[in-house]
Subunit: 362 residues, 4 copies
């Protein structure tokens, strides 16, 4: 039997850091084929290769992997005027306030998978981490109907939420999560390049604040771990509190987590719950899914962002230093590392599209 033809997709916001990661995650993808690219009017009308070049002869390309050669000659269209006709899906990685109107215009016509926060908190918009809450994806049907759109918007969570919600999922199922206190040490790539984090702020330094980040993580974690219910998501009742900081790390967010449980749990049981967790994607054979969603380390010096961020090709969350937390009646503390521009951005969005496809939603 001949393989199904690939779904033609477009990438809007293709020149930014998240857009670049999207394109890398789509190289030789078995389901999707990048047909069209769009970016701001500054880049429109140039080839993708040209659009990546800066005035001085440098490049906007930020990833460690080289840009996909096959896309260099593809024309970049103006995102503001992008017509998705003929595409089966659009990935959006648009910056800032332009995201909401732009994604809405696209979603009226085709499904949109987005790395932006524009729609994340809308009632009829699911916030899906495929291994954690795949069933939430079905909410796009409600969204479609309620809004009268041909497509829909399905956003991925913030990159700092990803590792946290992934590790909390098996703990909540096994022990019930009551309260979470998290301090992040985030990589500079999360801020992108325009303007991004200025080097003179991170050399020999820690920046103790990332605007809006803490609110996002607190809100998104509860939504992701919530229940699909009556045309919306009933947020989980757990309480989440964060302090988000920036450190001189290129890629890979590190998070120090203290979590209180409803029910008793030893450190060993917690490690085992994480190790044995297969998530809601088991059997789906999603191309971007890693062999395991969580890798648990016994070495107390792990996880480290530089050493562990590429685990599972950037899709596995690495956990270590699991210790019982005696401040709570039951609880643990641990440290996690999650790849912010892979699991937390481009590749995470492609994984979500794969899930939508597997559930027949594309």
């Amino acid at each position: 039997m001949a393989p199904s033809p690939k779904i033609p997709v477009g990438v809007v916001g293709a020149t930014g850091l998240a857009g670049q990661q999207l394109l890398l995650a789509l190289v030789d993808h078995p389901l999707f084929e990048v047909r069209r690219l769009a970016a701001s009017s500054r880049s429109a009308g140039r080839t993708y290769g040209e659009a990546l070049r800066t005035e001085g002869g440098g490049t906007r390309w930020s990833a460690s992997e080289r840009p996909p050669a096959s896309l260099a000659s593809l024309a970049v269209e103006d995102a503001a005027a992008f017509d998705p006709e003929g595409l089966g899906l659009v990935f959006s990685a648009v910056d800032g306030e332009a995201a909401r109107p732009l994604e809405e215009a696209l979603a009226r016509r085709v499904p949109v998978v987005s790395t932006t926060s524009a729609f994340r908190y809308d009632e009829d918009v699911p916030l899906v981490l495929p291994p954690v809450n795949p069933e939430h994806a079905d909410l796009v049907q409600v969204q479609r109907e309620r809004r009268g759109w041909k497509g829909f918007v399905a956003p991925i969570p913030n990159c700092t939420t990803t590792g946290l919600a992934t590790t909390l999922a098996p703990l909540d199922r096994s022990f019930g999560v009551r309260r979470v206190l998290m301090t992040s040490m985030q990589a500079v790539s999360g801020a992108g390049r325009s303007p991004g984090i200025v080097a003179l702020d991170v050399v020999d330094n820690v920046i103790p604040y990332i605007p809006k980040e803490e609110e996002k993580v607190e809100r998104e974690t509860r939504k992701i771990l919530g229940r699909l219910q009556g045309g919306g998501i009933a947020a989980h009742e757990m309480k989440v509190s964060c302090t988000c900081t920036r450190v001189a790390v290129l890629d890979g967010h590190t998070e120090s987590v203290f979590v209180e449980f409803e029910r008793p749990a030893s450190a060993e049981e917690v490690a085992e719950a994480m190790r044995s967790w297969r998530g809601g994607t088991e059997g789906l054979d999603l191309p971007s899914a890693p062999a395991r969603w969580i890798e648990v380390h016994d070495d107390p010096y792990r996880p480290q962002p530089r050493v562990d961020r590429e685990a599972g090709e950037g899709m596995t969350t690495s956990v270590g230093r699991i210790r019982e937390e005696r401040l709570f009646d039951s609880g643990v503390k641990y440290v996690l590392v999650s790849h912010n521009t892979k699991a937390g951005a481009g590749k995470g969005a492609v994984l979500l599209a794969e899930l939508l496809h597997a559930r027949g939603l594309l």
Copy 2:
């Protein structure tokens, strides 16, 4: 009236990083005058200037400030055979397991102020942060009597404890501290130079573990904030839990703190309690004391280790991002920066000696 003659002091462990910071803090000191230096047998018999030189022509000196010129020609004695005769006080910054027997031998003869952990947890040994628990210092009298020593040992706390206990002190007085969850992002200088942290571990990285550090902070904080009682210290009943990490910062430990109170407190009241706190050193006119022990920032991007570590010439703890912690009935979260090799080591030890002098204990 002529000024009192200065107290002649010795510094044992003078070539290590903490010893260097001690010597810097003693330059032109109004009360103390460095008369003698000691270090390991490797350095003994050489001048201090020679002892700082490495085989390849480099230097063991690690501080930003240059080595005190007046000490370059002072002879370095063998710490193991150091006779404190004629000295009024010895500062100890000895590494490792040698510290305990060495400090004991010295303390039989003279008062010893130490940056090491050798005696910190002994029942009759006070652990004094001068602004926080100056009255604990009197425990050295009990120690002296009980052990039959002419001198005593008075250690300073671990460098990570310093900022935490300093900021908790006014909060405990005003609101009662019940529980503390802290994640540190510690500077590499804290590990010194032999062997210290290897560069290839911190470039583009975070190390999620510092051996023994968490236990020290948890135990010391409760002792410092405890009460002097019946020939010992009754530890504070608060619960403290830490995750200590290392980041690519030279000096200045950053700590993300979540604290639960016994009594209601708004973020503004917490800020005010810290701002107005003068500590137990008021009126003592200690030469190494800063104008204020805590500086509170409104700018959410502060404190930053590189920017704020030198506040109060390295003796002020900088605090920012004070927010109410809704996970607790009453509580706040905040970020602090404290200079680990000044307040947390050399200069902190000199401050303690100043306090001992002010209380007539030298």
Copy 3:
């Protein structure tokens, strides 16, 4: 006798990194008093304290030292409409292409000392490093007359030129410099903050290119070491070639220099020529001049930017690793460190103003 009243000065471009360094160098200055500040229209109409604040509640301030408290309430004027009436001198640290018309407009009225490159290469504009070529300053008289301006423009050199030209000056006088090959490892602060160097480009990295930098250093070095002659500067005939790179250092440019001489010279003679050099500022008692312009190290591990940039309060160039260069008939190689935002920007400009004052040119 009463002290002379201070000269009232203005600072245009006061909110940028070089402007901030200017203001720090002018705190409690014995000759100059900052009366007025100007910046882009975005900042105009606000106080300096307000203008430093960013949208999110952060600050544009980039220096390690805190902003001068006395200036916080001073109004910031619009640079484009700045009227220098009443000022004796204006310091300009304006960014980009606006610099040339703006400095011209000011120089028609008052003397202008500039950190920008706008006028550096004009024939009748001296490029003065006070210890190296103080006599070039007199060219401002020619400039004034020729252009019919009441004031003049006196720029300082590029921050990378400063250390190089300073160290070459005594060598040229003693041995004759024929060729110079230099590789720089430059600090990130040199690029400022808007946009500056993006953190993700310097973490675990070296950037091998700084636009226009090499041409500036090559041209400026020859002009500074040239001779005042017939209403202009005859450039020195030495040949200079550079490769300029950026490394993850906050402040302090490091330069690896290979230099060929006209006449024989041993490494020891070169060290001695640098050590004994007092420059053309001897006897002038300039407030910002350090005790010595060059400090020579024997320790082969020096100079290091973090350790040596503050030598002479940021105004001394540190040199080490002087070795005979056997590739040339006569020559040496050495490494230098020079503070790019002090000697190479703000404080360097104030030093030049001091020289102009000492020579009666203000």
Copy 4:
């Protein structure tokens, strides 16, 4: 036809950084199979997995790639007593002064390929960079005969020499190299882990000195580019001068090179000479050889160590910023990046072994 059985090899110094890189380069190697491991007596008698563990539960493993799982249970033998019986080749990555006697003892019995400098400068020992001087390898026959050894020692060059000599090779052939002035910005991994570079020396810093490094590069470059002649190597007459520095980069040495030619050459001709160069390994089909030995960039911001070190899986030298050097009658300047622990250590040694095999010398 059945494939030839693999040559059984041993790795001595297996726990150090270079030894680790050797083992990674030998994973699933088509010619060699790791049968035995040796290290210092501290590790002897433990499995390799155990030997990598540190006291505190951490690991000595330093590479980004994970340790080869298949070796974890292999016993580590005592290097001092290692008997190579049954092995066809031993790789040596032994530290320090032990290297020479140990490699000699081994070479009396079997061929030894070494990453150390112990034998590099002996007259009858070739210093081979496979693409540059493969014919030098035959000198091992002379060595064997002259010393009466059954095996021989074939060392690879210093990691800083590798990129320099590789790029000079096509230039020397095409234009004749007369003089080379090089400044390196070297990665911290080159110093290994015991003791390695201390983190507090590289944060916000450059170290301007690496003991013995400059002499090695100067001497080795001339030997590699020399001619095999009468039972030894006649060194190339070019003059080489270096200043070697250390920067906060994990892997990948950056070198700024100025080179003078005997004959005229434009920048374009130089780029073309590098681009078209296939080296002396063409047609040999060495498994570790990259598709091209040199990659030339037009983007002036390249090469960068973090971005380009993995070119050719760490075996390609990346070159950029080729400009004519007007200080010489003919010459160029350029910047190169070479992977110090792959091309310059473990994988480079495996490549040399492959060459020896291809030339029938094993």
